[in-house]
Amino acid sequence: MIPGLEFLEEWYSFILRGFLITVEMTSIGLAGGFVLGSLLALGDVYGGRLVRVIVNSYVEFFRGSPLIIQLLFFYYGVPAITGVKWSAYTAGAITLILNSGAYQKGYIKGAIEGVPKDQIVAAQALGLTNWQILRHIVLPQAYRIVIPAWTNELVALGKSTSALLIIGVGELTSAAMTVSALTFKPLEVYTVIAILYFTWLYSSLKITELVYKKVRIPGLGEEI
């Protein structure tokens, strides 16, 4: 064992558990945020004035305030208002989804609008209905175009899960704080945690890159 890292022997499973929670929360936030972001983007692009105002106010709120405040609000405030009793994990997951959705909406809308208009006119000339055009021409291209920008959200969300510790979710950073306090080795512990985050996020990026290369279509979208 590398000198200074002996604490790992005793604590590695605790840290690992924290890591798994981090990965889990990130995935939930990302997936939920993607669905929500898509709905918001479609509403903004195709909806009427009222829908657009609602969508943009929502996005403005969640992008303009810190995730930390949102987490505190959903964990303490919402139960106080509605009487629902939920765990830190549920509150945390919901907040992450709502927050990520607001950011992903921007990327997805950009991708939808990035589909060249002339193809839409060509589809109309063939007699396709607006719904058919959305489903067969716009979305298939938009979801490929969005991937490079979307990887930003993957990394940002992964890092922001560290905020979950303030409501008591045992993710990786909170595990680190616990271990650091109990072993009196903050320097070593936090360094290890940093390496863990770094490795996880960059391998996730690499995997996404590979997936992107697989589904890429020549002439569509940019290089990652």
Partner: protein, 248 residues
Amino acid sequence: MSSETILEGQDIWKIYGSLEVLRGVNISIRRGQTKVIIGPSGSGKSTLLRILGLLEPPTRGRVVFKGRDVYSEGLDLAKIRSKIGFVFQQPSLFRHLTALENIKLGPKLVLGMSEKEAERRAREMLKLVHLEEFADYYPAQLSGGQQQRVAIARALAMNPDILLLDEPTANLDIELTWEVIEVMEELARKGITMLVVTHEIPFAREVADEICFISDGVIQECNEPEEMIRNPQTPRARIFLKRLLGEV
């Protein structure tokens, strides 16, 4: 046996704000006819074609398809558009689909064909435009001329009653232009009803039944190709043709 009038524009006006792009245009195309529209830029020829293709409504006037006034009778525009084939200056192929898939899409989604039928139809169309080997190529992998031919095949796959072409070779350089013109001439000879906006006079000479000259939002004169070229009646037409063809 008189052939039916497929598409007709009656007293078409198009006004944008204070700009009068089309000022009372009358034009009709009968089944089997190949009609060519020529004119200087800004004359309104592309706008006219878009209006006849139901991609834009006229400010005034009527568009009549097979005897029925499209706008006043409240007909289903999408349905009729599928019967009016349109080829644009840009091929506008769907980039995420192969050439074959581009051609299959309309028949499947709009005509309700099965996957098998659509596939067969699409391959037939590709053969028509001499691109069978390129069925699985993506638009980005095709040259401009090839893309345009696929665009023509895509329009034809819908079995339209008429094919409208808006300067299909304007964006192509000379070598690529020829392969598209060749296909267009073959189609005209096969009897496909066509209305083409173009500068390609040799094409018109080969296969057009009539050339119409449009300028300042009005059709100035129509005549059969040889007559029009040799003996333009109106001064504007004369100037335009002189510039287009060089000193004869």
